[in-house]
């Protein structure tokens, strides 16, 4: 295929509209722009939080003030003006939300448009949803059925009141506010997010899911998710996200903490489709997220699956701390970048317990002028006898102007460890495209097919309904970008 044709096709892709770019017109209750101790107090007061929570936030804020933005990433980042961000925005509540009937119809409509139905009759069967709109949780479905099993699934602001002992015990236990710049910021200003507790011996009867939507202008989203799986329990959790098209960059700095006790298993899946910015790189979400799980108990397991298609910049490393003996960490990732998008993502597997196991499968796809970096750390501590890791890192380039980079780091302090690394880089070839064409498959569909094939191992990890959604997303975000 000639260069001019290649450019034509890439241009077509570029003109693809972001389908979730609409805004919702709704009356908002917002904090004044900027960040100060007063803003931290304002957010805490809005949530009617206990004193200890406010103290924790203030400590985090004061710590954050002493930090500088990190600069080791493999992408360009214009300085962020933290005083130009609104740290709290919530739809004006007329009444306390006891049932869905009381939710503003505009909000229900917004989620309908996104394909997330919160009304009783139309809900996806078998999936309980917590919907977070800007800074607050709007509604959590299937609460009663879950409660029968003792499963707690609610907004974290609600958990602070209903289950303060659990929140107090675990919040910051996996990702302390001192962890990094954005975790400190999040601890100071987080507004909402989901809280999940699965009691001993319970297999959560349905998929749990949180849907995040940024709507308000100049607003950052700082949600915090905390999931605790007690001994012998199981839960599968999925988060999805979208945002309107806006010219300025918006910051999303979330923290997710997972705790898996003895023989517990947590499966955490993400389909990230924040607004990526336009083809010239204007606007889009900065997705700077700290996600970490702790395998506290023996034989526990934490599995991260992520499909990252959106955001102007994605910067995250969902990680596992393998403390319990025989614990198991997994990371399955697809990161797609197109146009001017940048992604620096990967994982950290920290082997502490004996006979711990980890597996990393990363698939990076770069098109347009985008850059896609895998960065991963496998660390085996002195006492972690017989640790095992297998890492597989595959990159696919579409077109000749994109870049793929791989930074695998190893820190092995125990010589009984077995660590394997495989890596590959491929290009969607014109031979593959022509072969598909010759069978009657157009170039757009061909790329969708080839990319989905490339990511299959990861997509197979997703719950069924979401796998289908993710496949479509991949096709939409890449259609036609041939090389």
């Amino acid at each position: 295929m000639s260069d001019t044709q290649e450019v034509d096709i890439i241009d077509q892709v570029v003109s693809q509209e972001y389908k979730y770019g609409f805004t919702t017109d709704i009356e908002m209750d917002s904090a004044p722009m900027g960040l100060s101790e007063d803003i931290v107090r304002f957010i805490s007061a809005k949530k009617n939080e206990p004193e200890w929570m406010l103290e924790w936030r203030l400590k985090a804020y004061r710590y954050w003030l002493t930090l500088e933005e990190p600069n080791w990433q493999n992408f360009k980042l214009a300085p962020i003006d933290y005083q130009k961000i609104i740290y709290y925005a919530a739809p004006k509540e007329k009444i306390k939300l006891d049932s869905l009937d009381q939710v503003d119809p505009e909000l229900l409509k917004t989620f309908e448009k996104l394909g997330i139905s919160l009304t009783e009759q139309k809900r996806l069967t078998g999936v309980a949803v917590d919907a977070v709109f800007d800074s607050v949780s709007i509604a959590t479905t299937f609460k009663d059925q879950l409660a029968e099993k003792g499963v707690i699934f609610c907004a974290i602001s609600e958990a602070l009141h209903e289950h303060p002992e659990l929140v107090k015990k675990y919040i910051g236990s996996v990702v302390p506010y001192t962890d990094n710049y954005f975790s400190a910021l999040n601890a100071a200003v987080f507004s909402d997010g989901s809280f999940v507790y699965i009691p001993k011996g319970v297999r959560c009867p349905m998929e749990l899911s949180t849907y995040f939507r940024i709507n308000a202008e100049n607003t950052g989203q700082f949600e915090r998710t905390l999931i605790i799986a007690d001994d012998n329990s199981y839960v599968s959790y999925l988060e999805g996200c979208t945002a309107p098209m806006r010219d300025e960059n918006q910051l999303h700095a979330a923290v997710v903490e997972l705790v898996a006790m003895e023989k517990a298993e947590i499966k955490y899946s993400t389909v990230q489709n924040w607004y990526p910015g336009d083809k010239d790189g204007k606007g889009g979400i900065y997705n700077f997220v700290t996600k970490r799980g702790s395998c506290e108990g023996a034989h526990s397991k934490i599995s991260w699956t992520q499909v990252e298609t959106g955001s102007a910049i994605t910067w995250k490393y969902p990680s596992c701390i393998l403390k319990g003996d025989y614990s198991n960490g997994e990371f399955f990732s697809v990161a797609v970048t197109n146009n001017m998008q940048q992604a620096d993502t990967g994982t950290k597997m920290i082997h502490i317990g004996k006979n711990t196991k980890s597996r990393i499968v990363s698939k990076g796809i770069s098109a347009g002028k985008s850059h896609n970096t895998y960065r991963g750390l496998v660390k085996v501590n002195k006492k972690a006898e017989n640790a095992r890791n297998h890492t597989q890192c595959d990159s696919m380039l579409i077109g000749s102007r994109s870049g793929a980079h791989t930074f695998p780091y190893l820190e092995i302090s125990n010589n009984t460890a077995t660590v394997e690394h495989e890596a590959s880089t491929s290009k969607i070839g014109e031979d593959q495209i022509f072969y598909c064409n010759q069978r009657g498959i157009g170039t757009e569909e061909a790329i969708g097919l080839i990319v989905n094939g490339f990511c299959k191992e990861v997509l197979n990890q997703l719950p069924m309904e979401f796998a289908v959604e993710a496949q479509k997303l991949l096709a939409v975000s890449l259609e036609g970008s041939v090389g």
Partner: protein, 252 residues
């Protein structure tokens, strides 16, 4: 059905096809033979619409349509099928998924609804039996890790599924042992009928023992320099290509 007139094509400024003429009627099997580098694969690529080749002169009429005007995918949807000399691997995409996509794209082009899953599976089963295709090959990734023979059989299986009007086989016999050759040929023979035509490209005569052609053409330096019936292939087998080359040089 297919009428090629004075076809000239080049790649990177190098002239490969130099005024090729060929008439193929419905139901006919034409063999195209010729020494390496004669332009046989180029002919198949040009007919299938590969973009690297530039057609500088000539016309190709396919069932009343100007074939050269159509995109590669539309040529396929109109019923042109090329069995590749080197079938391509697509990791992670199953044969079945690939074919379902291909069939439904063709149906969309024809204004038809996508095929029902049960009908598709039934069709797969029938065609697998027809071309004696191993069932396990349909769920595996497309051509990935297939042996040479399996790849070629898979091409024939795909042809059976897509039911083209014209099947072009580019050196389908290359790299096959005698058993694989027989299986592939039997598959092709079962797909022969009154409407469907074939262009069978081969360097060796032995394939034509199994797929008996109606016509044999010799391609040399981008032109058809000799045509005859199946006996011409035998003659080439015995005498090689040198006498043809000499004949051509003498006449020019």
């Amino acid at each position: 059905m297919l009428s090629i007139k004075n076809l000239k094509a080049e790649i990177e400024g190098k002239k490969i096809l130099n005024g090729l003429n060929l008439e193929v009627k419905a139901g006919e099997v034409h063999a195209i033979m010729g020494p390496n580098g004669a332009g046989k694969s180029t002919l198949s690529a040009v007919l299938a619409g590969r973009a690297d080749y530039e057609v500088t002169e000539g016309t190709v009429d396919f069932d009343g349509k100007d074939l050269l005007e159509l995109s590669p995918e539309d040529r396929a949807r109109e019923g042109v099928f090329l069995a590749f000399q080197y079938p391509i691997e697509i990791p992670g995409v199953s044969n079945a998924n690939f074919l379902k996509t291909a069939i439904n794209e063709k149906r969309k082009y024809q204004g038809l609804e996508p095929m029902e899953a049960t009908d598709f599976l039934k069709m797969m089963r029938e065609k697998m039996e027809l071309v004696e295709m191993d069932k396990s090959l349909t769920s595996r990734s497309l051509n990935e890790g297939f042996s040479g023979g399996e790849k070629k059989r898979n091409e024939i299986f795909q042809m059976a599924m897509l039911e083209p009007k014209l099947g072009i086989l580019d050196e389908t016999d290359s790299g096959l042992d005698i058993d694989a050759l027989r299986l592939v040929s039997e598959g092709v023979n079962k797909l022969r009928n009154k409407e469907r035509s074939f262009i069978v490209i081969t360097h060796y005569q032995r394939l034509l023992d199994y797929i008996v052609p109606d016509f044999v053409h010799v391609l040399y330096k981008g032109r058809i320099v000799k045509s005859g019936d199946a006996s011409l292939a035998k003659e080439l087998e015995e005498k090689g290509y040198d006498w043809i080359k000499q004949e051509v040089e003498a006449n020019s």
